[in-house]
């Protein structure tokens, strides 16, 4: 796989096919942890990390499953790998970076049920990416998530003080804001710097 293909995958994952705004993966933490921009960045980094490692590990797991003729066990095997990974990262952070651990709080174990993580692993298999492409897609997909959640949190901090109808309080106004960012991100569609 050539460097330009990898660059094209990265550009797609971060801008044109952003996990949040174009593929609707990982909306729950996106709405849940975006009230403050510093926790949003922590969450984005943690997700990027898990997505990168999960892509690498699940690539091997998938090869093993296919070799054993157990392709239908994919979903079950992948979610177990992800759950194990998140548990491991939780223990690691608790020991070595307690401040980040407390900042992420309940959202750290919830990365297990973040559909962006399982989504990227399944998409890797679906697109038939090789090892390097899988890892690149995982990490850049995570970076796309980080960009989205950071942009969204900074806007959300301001929207708090805006004047909108009372029934839009909470999730509705957040969704509409996200919709408008998605509209802006549509401007990237069709962007192609490197030929695939």
């Amino acid at each position: 796989m050539s460097v330009t293909t990898l660059l094209a995958i990265s550009l797609g994952a971060i801008l044109t096919n952003n996990f949040i705004f174009a593929q609707f993966l990982g909306i729950c933490p996106f709405l849940g942890v975006s009230k403050k921009s510093d926790t949003a960045i922590g969450m984005g980094l943690a997700v990027t990390f898990v997505m990168g490692i999960a892509s690498a590990v699940c690539f091997g797991v998938n090869k093993l499953l296919v070799a054993l003729g157990l392709g239908y066990m994919q979903t079950v095997a992948f979610i177990l790998v992800i759950a194990g990974l998140v548990q491991f990262i939780e223990m690691f952070l608790k020991k070595s970076m307690p401040s980040l651990y407390t900042a992420l709080g309940v959202y750290l174990p919830l990365i297990t049920t973040n559909c962006a993580v399982l989504g990227v692993v399944l998409l890797n298999v679906q697109n038939d990416y090789n090892f390097i492409a899988s890892v690149v897609y995982g990490i850049t997909g995570g970076l796309g998530f980080l960009l989205a959640i950071y942009l969204f949190s900074t806007i959300r901090e301001r929207v708090q003080f805006a004047d909108y109808p009372k029934c839009f309080e909470g999730f509705p106004i957040a969704l509409i804001t996200a919709g408008l960012i998605a509209l802006a991100f549509m401007g990237f569609s069709g962007l192609q710097v490197w030929p695939v």
Binding site: F21, I79, F171, G179
Partner: protein
């Protein structure tokens, strides 16, 4: 056992999407045509009911510390079964729903109901809860699909409904439409719930006098 109350909870007062705000990803991603919405809704309904029954059966055996992992394995098993069935019998729906069928594993509705309801209630109640919450989810999907397909493409179930002169608002079938449509729908729900609460409070006040 109160079927009527559970149905009302699932449809309105505890609607999984509009009130509990769970399972947003699939709600916004696949609601571009009615066949997608119905296919997804029914898949979730089946998985939710089966996993609720199973988890309720196992609730006394599963140790508390590893319960979430156990729930996920049970759910993943049922999702795989439904995924394979869809691929075998409805290949077109399976293709258009794509990665979102295996992603039901991490759909917060299923895990949320397992944790909040099935792990604490009898098998029959858990089954009814699964069905009611599933219906609530499907209804929301169908409403979203109707709005987005009718206004975004001018069709319903693939049949042209709007007059030829109508220019489809293409934006609504694109991701943007999902965010805007769901946001407005939740706002309407909050408005309606606040209104009915106010009415109930007024009624209570009058009775108090």
């Amino acid at each position: 056992m109160n079927f009527k109350k559970q149905l009302k909870d699932g449809l309105i007062t505890q609607n999984p999407v509009l009130v509990q705000v769970l399972g947003m990803c699939s709600t916004m991603a696949i609601t571009t045509s009615i066949s997608n919405g119905v296919g997804m809704g029914i898949s979730v309904l089946i998985i939710l009911t089966l996993s609720n029954i199973f988890i309720s059966l196992l609730r006394k055996i599963i140790p508390n510390e590893v319960r979430i992992a156990c729930y996920i394995v049970v759910i993943a098993g049922f999702v795989t079964i439904v995924d394979l069935c869809l691929q075998a019998f409805f290949p077109e729906i399976a293709k258009s729903l794509g990665v979102f069928i295996p992603l039901i594993v991490v759909n917060c509705i299923v895990l949320g109901r397992a944790e909040a309801f099935a792990s604490k209630n009898s098998v029959a109640a858990a089954a009814v809860d699964g069905i009611c919450q599933g219906i609530g989810y499907t209804v929301v999907l169908v409403i979203m699909c109707t709005v987005r397909e009718l206004l975004g493409a001018g069709t319903l179930m693939g049949i042209q409904i709007m007059p030829k002169s109508y220019t489809p608002a293409l934006m609504l079938v694109l991701p943007v439409g999902g965010f805007l449509c769901l946001g407005t729908l939740i706002a309407v729900m909050q408005w309606a719930l606040a209104k009915s609460e106010k009415k109930a409070a007024e009624k209570n006040e009058k009775e108090g006098e």
